[in-house]
Amino acid sequence: MIKLFNVSVSFYGEKKALDNVSLKIDKGEFVYITGASGAGKSTMLRLIYADLLPTRGVVLIANKDITNITPKSIPYLRRNIGVIFQDFKLLEEKTVFDNIFMTLEIFYIKPEQIENRIFSILRRLGLFSRRDTIVKKLSGGEKQRVAIARALINEPSIILADEPTGNLDPERGEDIIKLLQDIANQGNTVLVATHDKALIEKMPARTIYLKNGKVEADTKNE
C-alpha cells in the first residue's frame, strides 16, 4: 500500500529529516513509527499525504508514484487518506456534526443527504449524543474521537495518526489505539507516529524505529 524507496528529505540544506529511508507497508497493517523527538516521524507521515515532497527517492501510494504530484491532484490523493493530529485540527467554534461534515461537503453534498452516514459513525465512536455540541466544549478524548470520525467518514484506505494520544491521559490513549487497531483489522492501513514506549509495549504491533532520519529497526524484519 505504501512504499518508500531511498527517500531523503532535507529542509533548506539543514541536516536531513529523513535519510535514505526504504520501507514497505501492506494493506491492512497497523504500524507504529517511533523514535526520539526530531527523528523524522512527522516528516514521514507528511510525505504520505503529500504535505511535503521528498528531496530524493520515490514514494508510492497504492502503486502510484506521488514523488512529482501536481498541486491539482493532491486533493484526490488526500480523499483516500485520513489524517489525525495531536492537536486535533478541528474548528473549535463549529459543532461535532459540522466538523465531520467538512470531509463530505467537498463533494458538494448537503448535510441532510448524508446525515445517516454521519450519525452512524458518531454512534460507533460514542459521540452521537454530542453531535450538536460545539467542539470547544468537549474533552480531549472526545475531540480526538471527533478527529477520528472526520478522518474515517469518507472511508479512506489509509489512516495516518501523528501523536494521536499525546494530549490524552493513558487510558483514553489506549482506547484510541484500540479503535485504530480495529480499523486496521477491517482492512485499512494505519500508521501511528508516537514516542510513547509504554503505549507500544501495552498494545504491541509492528514498530519502525527512526533515529536521526534513518530506519534503525523494524520489528517486521526481526
Partner: protein, 297 residues
C-alpha cells in the same frame, strides 16, 4: 445540488460573515467608480464639445493653374484617397458665386472682375477623418502635387482646441491607469483579509481533499458580486447627478454641455474594470493557496 449553486451559496455565506470588511470595501469601490465616472463624463462632454469646434469639414486647395487637363488629373488622384468623400471644383466664376451666396449685403462684389477670384477645389472629408491627424496627412499628400498653390483647412484656433482635446484625453488615460491600480489593490487586500480569516478552515478543507475550485471560487464569487453591486450603484448615482445638473441648472441657463457616455462606453468600462478585478482576485487566491495548503507551517 449543483456545484455552481453550492459555490454560489457558499460565497453569499462568506459575504455575510465578512460583512464589516465587505461593506467597507463595497463603499470604497462605489466611491472610486463614482469619481471615475464623474471625471469621465466631464471629460467626455468636454471632448465632444471641442470635437465639434475643432472638426474640419473640408480642405480647400488653391491652384496655380487653370489647365483643365491637369486639374482633372489632380481630382482623379485625390478621389482615390480613402478619407475623401467628395470633390468639387470651383472655377473663378463659381468662386464668385460661392462668395456671393455665402455673404450678404456685399454689393461691391459685383463691381469686381470675376478673373480676380481664385479657382479652388473643395475636398469634403468622410466623417471618420475629420480629425487633425488625418487632416495633416491629407495636407502632405495634396502638397505633393505641383499644381497646388496652397492647401488650407481652417484657422489657428482649430489647432488650439484640438490640443485641449488631446490633453484631456491624456488626463483621462492617466486617471484610468491610477484607478485600475487602486482597484486591483483593493480587491487583493479584501480577498487576502478574508482568506486569512478562514485560514484554519481552508487548511482543514485542504487536508480532507477539497479541490482548489472548492476553496477559491466562493471568494472570487464574493468579490465579483461586490464589484457588480458597486459598479451598478455608482452608475446610478452618476446618472442621477448629471441628469440633475442638466435638468435643473444647465437647462435653465440654456447650456447643453453635459453629454453622458452611451451604453457601449459604460459596458466597455464595466468589462475593463471587471477583468482587473477578476485577474487580481485570481492572482491573490492562488498565491494564498500555495502557502495555506501546507497543513503544517
Amino acid at each position: 445540488m449543483s456545484k455552481f449553486s453550492y459555490l454560489f451559496n457558499r460565497s453569499i455565506k462568506f459575504y455575510k460573515l465578512n460583512f464589516k470588511t465587505s461593506i467597507v470595501s463595497f463603499l470604497t469601490l462605489t466611491t472610486i467608480f463614482f469619481i471615475y465616472q464623474f471625471i469621465f463624463t466631464i471629460g467626455y462632454s468636454t471632448n465632444s464639445f471641442f470635437k465639434n469646434l475643432s472638426s474640419v469639414q473640408n480642405v480647400r486647395v488653391y491652384l496655380k493653374t487653370d489647365d483643365t487637363e491637369k486639374i482633372n488629373e489632380f481630382i482623379k488622384n485625390i478621389k482615390n484617397l480613402n478619407s475623401v468623400e467628395d470633390i468639387i471644383y470651383y472655377t473663378p466664376e463659381d468662386s464668385y458665386k460661392y462668395l456671393k451666396n455665402n455673404t450678404q449685403n456685399l454689393k461691391y462684389l459685383e463691381n469686381i472682375s470675376k478673373d480676380f477670384f481664385p479657382s479652388f477645389i473643395e475636398i469634403k472629408l468622410k466623417d471618420n477623418f475629420k480629425d487633425l491627424i488625418f487632416i495633416n496627412q491629407i495636407k502632405t499628400e495634396i502638397n505633393k502635387f505641383e499644381i497646388v498653390d496652397k492647401a488650407s483647412f481652417g484657422e489657428q484656433w482649430v489647432l488650439k482646441f484640438a490640443s485641449i482635446k488631446y490633453s484631456l484625453q491624456i488626463f483621462i488615460f492617466i486617471v484610468t491607469i491610477l484607478l485600475s491600480i487602486s482597484i486591483a489593490f483593493i480587491t487583493i487586500n479584501v480577498i487576502n483579509l478574508n482568506l486569512y480569516k478562514f485560514k484554519e478552515e481552508i487548511k482543514i478543507y485542504s487536508l480532507v481533499g477539497a479541490t482548489r475550485t472548492f476553496i477559491i471560487v466562493p471568494f472570487l464569487f464574493a468579490s465579483v458580486i461586490e464589484f457588480i453591486l458597486s459598479f451598478a450603484i455608482s452608475v446610478l448615482i452618476n446618472f442621477s447627478i448629471f441628469f440633475g445638473i442638466n435638468d435643473y441648472i444647465l437647462s435653465s441657463l440654456n447650456i447643453n454641455f453635459i453629454k453622458l457616455p452611451n451604453i457601449y462606453i459604460y459596458s466597455a468600462m464595466a468589462v475593463y474594470f471587471f477583468l482587473i478585478n477578476v485577474i487580481a482576485a485570481f492572482y491573490i487566491s492562488l498565491k494564498f493557496l500555495k502557502k495555506a495548503s501546507r497543513i503544517n507551517d
